[in-house]
Symmetry: D2
């Protein structure tokens, strides 16, 4: 989608602002004046909220201090239109902290995609509330591991340790890769828009424990998974990606759990890709997800 | 799946009973002794409930009074194993009463499938709480139409009229083809296992009015529909079939409603087919659906 | 997606041209100067072909002679960038000629979607190589019907009649709704980019007659359908839309044909929608399809 | 699906034979006499070939020499009906030899599913035409590795080594997990019905090299993968499982390859599961796949 010549850099600009005439003209003219070439652009006009969303991929001659200069230029334009915006250099993979509990299917899947270069992430740490021995069979490829056990009594302290890790590692994205602890409102708020969770989903939905068993009892014909940004409201943050698979009466709860693993890992991997490619823009309780 | 020679009839036997050794041997031996050839058979052992479910398709030399003789034979065997059972002659289409309100996409779809011979149903009547003129554009192909308006005050009387129609027409299956009235517990109970409803489904689910608008507000990425047997508990009866379609942030509530129509009509048509082919066996709060 | 106020008109502009800097800036600035508000815009940079594609939806104050003035303005800009372009007023439905042979499932489906206002088309005629009586059960709702029988000997003359119809009715889109005649290279060329066909598709593909029977013999587990623009090369024109459904060994060829009907009608309806919403832009042997 | 009590064993019986009355009665009566309880049974009557297929899961009191006694009993019955049949003890995982070339996504996926106990296989060896160092990052968990390089000149000798490995390890299933060498007719015949391959699939299909690039050039909207039994006819053996994913014009050939990896690994894993659960019965050029 972008021109790969040695002397050019590729950036992704995302923005949203109150809708008014001239935004696209303003952005594209400024990028043109800066010598940038727009490789891809998508926009969405939320007419109900009267809010405008845009994602632009552009390449530009590489130079020392380029990112800083672009930030200054775009910042000036952004002020004019009251924009929220982000600018990412595609050459720099997102720094990701992975949290996991007992089940490792999502973790192993993300590590594989990272290892073969499929996912532009740089894992800066793996955190678990269980000791390293639980995942003794999984090669962490040198990624630092942090055993942070947690009890109701120690939750606040443990979350403070996670938050310190986020800061000390320069983490840009926290992925709850089947991390079975509920984040406090406080931590969820600090990580707003940069913490992704994965959970099972059903039609109809179920509250409470052992959802796959409930789905079995109810005789649903489809099971699914949802990846979403974490907010204080558990399992209810803005949705990034969902998928389902067909099941039958002959599937036992164990079969549902097995099929659920496949859905969970692919939905989470897609959501992480969507995030690091800056395709997901927060829009109140939901997201704008620019596809391709 | 079955041998079609002029002199043979094809029947579908469904049964369920407490599980114990010898059921399959008992059934298949008796059918063999009767000169029947098993064309298809599927079974399911619900180990949690210790209950056994079976669907057998067999053909047998056609003869006068055959159905009655088979019923007597199978009845004797059924008593021995404490079976619930049904026997259907595939040459006889199911007598179906169609109920509709304002939206006719499901009705039109079912009528088309019936007209081209795709669905083995014999529509015996169309009931609407709106007058015939509302669907003036739809050709009912001579199927009797009954305008049965309803208000909270007249609900009991209107439902009595529906029930009289069911009896006078020999209706075997009632299809709520987007019939937007909630059946009373009483009528739902009388029609238990032979009344199918279709409704939208989402992950997560939504309660209350205007569900497609709620789905839009919530930013879900999939919308779906569920066909189920009607019980006193609205939208919560045993599920027969479900399907979903992918949507995006750019879909308006109107787009969701449009896409929903496509899902609703194909899920309902599949559910009706499953029912008339005797593939759906009630199993408490859920169904056993034998696929193919 | 667009603002619906009485005094504004909504247009769709599509364009493609050799890629070079400044296209988006040029377009968006000109539209801004014209007082237009961009409601939706998508673009694609085919780096292999170095060609740029764009679709812009904009609204603008309604006025007499507006379309002509916009065409003049955009034409001037287009010349500058060597663009191919189209401009459509969304208030004006596309004039569509429907061709059908024996099977009417696609025709009936398109007519239904048109009748309930779901598809922005204006059917100007229905053509069949079979007499009206073959589809006696289908209500054409006053759309003129033309019986144009064809034999190898009369093909040229019959196609000339079709072409005359296209011209006399101002047809903008020809839909081959299971029209089982192969168009000549000559007619296909005249209708380039405005004639859509639907056909079954399989993995792997099959050549020759009775494809569903071949698929059955080969034991495929998925069947599908493809909608594409018609070119001289039968079934090989630029693809607009595809879909599949899962089947099993127990499906007879008749089951495959039945399931195929469902896939064909929904894929064709989606392709017609994509076309009339100007989402499909020809790109050599393929299409750019801007989704939503 | 089966009763797991310490003192009982569970077996899967598959069989196919010319269709004639009394097969089900014969099987089920004999199993009843042997004290077996049928937990699941499915059958299929291929009326075109007049051939009957059946899969029966039964449990029975565990005992020394049980398997041998069952084989003798069933063998006697089988002779009477001219059956081809297999009997598998579900407690014994299938011995699997995995062949891989450069791409390891299928291998890694299968090893993961084996490691967490999801797939009832016992890997007896990993063979590659590349050295162990190519997959240095992949933990083989002690499974013996065999580097068997191959050139056109050494193919016969290399295949003989593979065949020796199959025999010496008691391999029951060979999985070509993206093994990019074509097996000779001779080896394919020796492994008939116990060697599974995975390859990409498209609508329409493409012959020749770089298929994902061809799919990109052709502008297909779906890409897929097919798992099949290997025969002398490359990529044309009986199909076990297929799946597809939606793509768009904006997907580069690299995107297609990436998405293809996901489809390939899940289709191959499902096919291996189908095989080891004895759900796939060969039926000439195709398979009967009993689902659940």
């Amino acid at each position: 989608m972008t021109r790969d010549t040695p002397a050019r850099s590729t950036f992704i600009l995302t923005l949203d602002c109150p809708n008014r005439p001239g935004i696209v003209a303003g952005i594209s003219t400024r990028l043109f004046e800066l010598g940038a070439n727009i490789a891809d652009a998508q926009q969405y006009d939320d007419t109900g909220q009267d809010r405008f969303f845009m994602r632009v991929v552009f390449d530009i001659a590489a130079a020392d201090g380029l990112a800083g200069r672009l930030e200054a230029e775009i910042g000036a334009l952004a002020a004019q239109f009251a924009m929220r915006w982000t600018l990412s250099d595609t050459a720099r993979p997102a720094r990701v902290l992975l949290l996991v509990s007992k089940f490792d299917h999502c973790l192993v899947d993300l590590l594989y995609r990272w290892r073969i270069g499929e996912l532009a992430i740089a894992p800066v740490g793996i955190v678990s509330n269980h000791p390293r021995t639980l995942h003794a069979d999984v090669d962490f490829h040198g990624i630092p591991f942090h055993h942070l056990p947690v009890t109701p009594q120690t939750r606040a302290a443990q979350e403070e340790e996670i938050w310190q890790l986020v800061q000390s590692t320069g983490t840009e994205l926290v992925v709850l890769a089947r991390y079975m602890q509920i984040l406090s409102d406080g931590l969820a708020r600090k990580l707003a828009g940069r913490c992704i969770n994965i959970h099972h989903s059903f039609l109809p939905g179920f509250k409470g424990a052992r959802p796959y068993h409930q789905a079995f009892e109810r005789g649903v014909k489809l099971i699914g998974a949802t990846a979403h940004y974490v907010t204080g409201d558990l399992d209810e943050g803005p949705i990034i990606e969902q998928d389902v698979e067909r099941i039958s009466h002959a599937d036992t709860p164990e079969d549902l759990i097995r099929k659920g693993r496949d859905i969970e890992r692919r939905v989470l991997a897609r959501a992480v890709r969507i995030h690091v490619e800056r395709r997901a823009l927060p829009n109140g309780r939901k997201t704008v997800v620019f596809g391709h």
